[in-house]
């Protein structure tokens, strides 16, 4: 009796990884999923933070994919290790701060380590030649296999017929003829295969799962690094870039102004780490002050916060400023006019 072969599938929560895993499962291979959390994943966070999104389903698409496939999913925290990928990408960045090729090399490498530790035979991904401008090109896909250390144990079921044979195919663990030859940016073959498999409720058709591909987010991250004079970051730093309006009126401080109740609640959780500003005389947003501020800076900050409160048209708004230790001071300020909010302050 032949040995039961086992594959670990990189599951992003998108359609391609779902289809790749199902394709291999159908060949009798035992498949388990692995999903990496970098801290920059879009998945779930903004829904969790923003009250206006509370009615939207909050499902984690990687978990949903695993449940649909009937496989286990191992979610791995790579926040610390990922810093080196982001800060020192050997292959550079994409359009924004997305180090896509280095990211893929790193994740496949981590999956290979996991496979070895857990007795799995090979690794599968939902990559398709030509689908992505940086990491899924004919010339970059071999780089991923080679630099990750996965080499010919890395099988891409959706485009395998366009690539050289891998060990799982050569050894007869999987039948190459039953793999696919997808290529390019068209999604039609994936849609057709999803229909064939009976998948209807899948997540976004292609990618879009990382904040680092987002221009506005990348600008905020660049500003954070520039203001600190170094590129170190912690999870809280990168989470806060996803929340609120960001203003930098002066180089020494930035304001994070909540946009609604859900963000208010989220920012309240940071009162022991940041100076917190809120309006007392009128309803208004919770605001965090990141950096250092003298007396004049605090007055300017309070005027900005008052601008976003219900007292924006009042002559005076009472504002409470609380430092990290909870020591408070009250300021009475005239809210800035809309025209006085310098557009250059917006991060």
């Amino acid at each position: 009796m032949s040995k039961q072969r086992k594959a670990v599938a990189l599951i992003s929560g998108g359609l391609d990884s779902l289809l790749a895993a199902q394709t291999i499962q159908q060949q009798g291979i035992h498949v388990e999923g692995i999903n990496f959390f970098t801290g920059f994943c879009v998945e779930g966070h903004t829904h969790a933070i923003r009250k206006k999104d509370k009615d939207k389903p909050k499902r984690n698409n990687a978990l949903w994919s695993a449940e649909t496939l009937g496989i286990k999913l191992h979610i791995i925290d790579i926040i610390e290790e990922y810093k080196d990928v982001l800060l020192n990408p050997k292959h550079g960045y994409g359009a924004n701060l997305n180090p896509c090729l280095d990211c893929k090399v790193f994740m496949v490498g981590k999956a290979k380590e996991w496979a070895v530790e857990n007795g799995f035979d090979f690794i599968i991904t939902g990559e398709v030649i030509g689908q992505r401008p940086m990491s899924q090109r004919r010339d970059t896909m071999p780089i991923i296999a080679e630099e990750s250390g996965a080499d010919d144990l890395l099988l891409r079921p959706l485009c395998a017929q366009n690539l050289p044979e891998t060990k799982p195919e050569r050894e007869g663990w999987v039948n190459r003829d039953l793999l696919h030859d997808f290529s390019g940016r068209t999604r039609k073959p994936q849609m057709a295969l999803a229909e064939e498999f009976g998948f209807t409720d899948y997540a976004q058709p292609a990618g879009g799962c990382c904040f680092l591909t987002d221009k506005a987010y990348s600008v905020k991250l660049t500003d954070l690094w520039a203001s600190r004079g170094n590129r170190e970051y912690e999870l809280d730093d990168i989470m806060l870039l996803k929340v609120g309006r960001h203003f930098r009126p002066k180089p020494n401080f930035k304001l994070i102004v909540s946009r609604e109740e859900g963000e208010n609640n989220f920012l309240k959780g940071y009162k022991k780490q940041f100076t917190t500003i809120k309006t007392i005389s009128h309803k208004g947003p919770i605001t965090l002050l990141d950096g250092t501020a003298d007396k004049d800076d605090l007055i300017l900050a309070a005027q900005i916060v008052a601008r976003f409160s219900q007292g924006r048209d009042a002559d005076k708004v009472e504002v409470e400023v609380a430092d990290k230790n909870g020591v408070t001071q009250l300021l009475s300020v005239k809210p800035l006019l809309a025209s006085e909010i310098n557009e250059a302050w917006r991060v």
Partner: protein, 74 residues
């Protein structure tokens, strides 16, 4: 009952903490995870189902969510 504090963490961190904690427990142990991210109401049960654990109870109180899990034969 073993308790795990996952307050203020956003998904998937509470799921990861639950997963890592359960690795250290034995079949039949009862774990209670305390969270604040409403996403856990969907994610922890989904993770538990696919990994062979049983959610015994989900309770929400004062903006906190208490999820009780019986460790299965993973």
């Amino acid at each position: 009952m073993i308790e795990l504090d996952a307050r203020r963490l956003l998904c998937p961190m509470p799921v990861i903490r639950t997963q890592d904690k359960i690795k250290t427990l034995s079949v039949g142990d009862i774990l209670q995870v305390i969270c604040t991210d409403p996403g856990v109401v969907h994610d922890i049960p989904a993770w538990s189902r696919i990994n062979g654990h049983k959610v015994l109870d989900i309770k929400e109180q004062d903006d906190e969510i208490y999820i009780t899990i019986e460790v299965g034969d993973d």
